[in-house]
């Protein structure tokens, strides 16, 4: 189970047949395990890890990302969950996490310009009941994302042939 997840977390396109060869498991057994992982909501979906900077260079498509710390005054009974759930509903919000430290929620918000993201924070996020403060940090450059190194790694320095 864990090995199938390890492989899929690295390569979401690995087919059950391929995973079966990699692990020595039966292809049908792999297919069933993946189906159950999907059914149980452990595997949520499959996606591509995109280098947005390269995408912008190639197509001009601008994606602005901001990390937003949100301070919340918790609700009796529900704590932070109610506010977090409200924030999470917005499609602009890519992630919402309850964190330790000075603030309560850390959100990732994307938009096509700084103005758009700033506007969203001011008009939608900061105005939610119980949100007491926000601090917006625009991402200037991404070096590593989702385990993927986006900066130039060391090349292959091996000799072409060696005994």
């Amino acid at each position: 189970m864990q090995e199938i997840i390890d492989i899929l977390m690295h390569d979401g396109r690995a087919t059950p047949e391929r995973i079966a060869v990699m692990t020595g498991l039966d292809a049908e057994a792999v297919r069933e395990q993946i189906a159950s992982l999907e059914r149980d909501g452990i595997i949520r979906r499959y996606k591509a890890v995109v280098d947005l900077e390269r995408l912008r260079e190639a197509t001009g498509a601008e994606v602005v990302t901001a990390l937003i710390d949100v301070s919340v005054s918790p609700e009796r009974g529900a704590g932070f969950d109610g506010v977090a759930a409200r924030i999470a509903q917005f499609p602009e919000v890519r992630s919402v996490q309850l964190v330790s430290g000075g603030q309560d929620l850390r959100c990732t918000v994307t938009g096509s310009s700084m103005h758009e993201v700033g506007d969203f924070v001011a008009r939608k996020l900061a105005t939610i009941d119980r949100v007491t403060a926000t601090a917006t940090h625009f991402v200037m450059k991404t070096y590593k994302d989702d385990g993927e190194l986006l900066i130039e790694g060391p090349g292959d320095h091996r000799l072409v042939m060696a005994p």
């Binding site: 090995e3 060869v21 990699m22 692990t23 020595g24 000799l159 072409v160 042939m161 005994p163």
Partner: protein, 384 residues
């Protein structure tokens, strides 16, 4: 001019030079001809090397190597294989297994002594025996039984001049892993004929189908075994040149005597990095080994599907398929494959006559490259 050393002069140059030159002239070669990981040394280890430089660890170490590293190696061997060596007196840090092998042979051999070596084997074994004044005696192994070392074949090659048996398991070039039973039988032969055992265990962490057997851990083996190991393969540290030799005190002491006059000590920075590899690198090793295993399964299956018979390689990161079905010799196969499809493999006969008819393919290469290599090899074979 007076003649040069005839033993060295008689040693043939590397059998892969020719292929290297051809491959170096191509820009889209997929090389399965390498003998090292495609991983760069894990960052925590590189970072420890950088820190060592910043701290100014640029001096000699003691001849035997950093005590901290020797202690870590001996603790690791005891924990994983229940074999005990004294960090002080039975463990020597070397510049890779290559130096350890040379030291072991020079300590053990008198002129004319014979050393039994499996055929095929790593290319350095025979020449190192010769350089140390000995004579390598090759014992053929066969792909038919996965390159097993048969104790009776070893015993049949013993003569009054035989001094030692040199083996590597898991093996370069075959990927073969010797079973505990076969190693025990081999040890019995060594005991019966009073032979030393030199065990090159550089690939010990790269065992996929079961735990590695440390030769020195077998009953009767430790007192006559020189155990060679290192960091190059499991920790992706080939260029750091750091390994170790463990042996009973009399052997280790003499090995240290040569080492102190020839190498003085292994690189200080590399030793500091190796300490980190042993103390903090286990997670990295496990990830890399799991990844090699997946590539192994995909690649070996792929070779069989394109019609190349391949014994199951239980360790290291090599597959050693037979190319007999193509009607080509291993040299012809390797050269024509390289020229036609720009895939580099190493012809098996460079590892000894029993390697003829095979090629060595290193699967420590990205999965996409392995798949592309298989596609090209398939096209090549179908075009023959």
């Amino acid at each position: 001019m007076k003649p040069l050393n005839p033993v060295v002069a008689a040693c043939p140059p590397s059998g892969i030079r020719r292929f290297f030159d051809i491959a170096a002239s191509m820009d889209d070669v997929i090389s399965l001809g390498v003998g090292e990981p495609d991983y760069v040394t894990p960052w925590r280890v590189r970072e420890a090397g950088i820190a060592a430089l910043e701290e100014g660890l640029t001096t000699y170490t003691s001849n035997a190597g950093l005590l901290e590293l020797r202690e870590a190696i001996c603790a690791d061997l005891e924990q994983r294989y229940q074999v005990r060596y004294q960090p002080d007196g039975e463990c020597l840090i070397t510049s890779g297994v290559s130096e350890g092998l040379d030291l072991a042979l020079r300590v053990l051999l008198e002129p004319g002594d014979e050393v039994l070596v499996p055929d095929p084997c790593y290319v350095a074994y025979g020449p190192c025996v010769s350089f140390a004044g000995g004579t390598p005696v090759y014992v053929a192994t066969s792909s038919a039984d996965g390159f097993r070392l048969h104790a009776d074949a070893i015993a049949a090659a013993v003569t009054p001049r035989t001094k030692a048996i040199l083996i590597g398991s898991p093996a370069n070039p075959t990927g073969a892993v010797q079973s505990r039973e076969d190693l025990a039988a081999l040890t019995d032969v060594a005991v019966r004929h009073d032979l030393y055992l030199i065990s090159d265990e550089i690939y010990e962490r790269l065992c996929y189908d079961g735990p590695h057997t440390c030769l020195a851990s077998l009953p009767g083996a430790r007192e006559r075994t020189v155990l060679l190991g290192g960091f190059s393969k499991a920790h992706a540290m080939t260029g750091w040149r750091v390994g170790f030799l463990c042996a009973p005190a009399p052997v280790a002491e003499l090995a240290g005597r040569i080492h102190q006059y020839t190498m003085l000590c292994a690189s200080h920075v590399s030793q500091a990095a190796a300490v980190e590899a042993l103390k903090g690198g286990e997670g990295d090793v496990r990830l890399m080994v799991a990844d090699y295993d997946r590539r192994r399964r995909v690649f070996v299956k792929g070779l069989r599907e394109i019609g190349l018979d391949c014994p199951e390689p239980g360790g290291a990161f090599y597959a050693f398929p037979s190319v007999a079905a193509t009607g080509l010799s291993s040299q012809e196969f390797a050269e024509r494959l390289l020229l036609a499809e720009h895939v580099a493999v190493v012809p098996g006969d460079v590892f000894g006559p029993s390697g003829a008819g095979h090629v060595r393919c290193c699967y420590a290469t990205a999965m996409t490259q392995l798949e592309e290599a298989l596609t090209r090899m398939d096209r090549f074979i179908r075009g023959l």
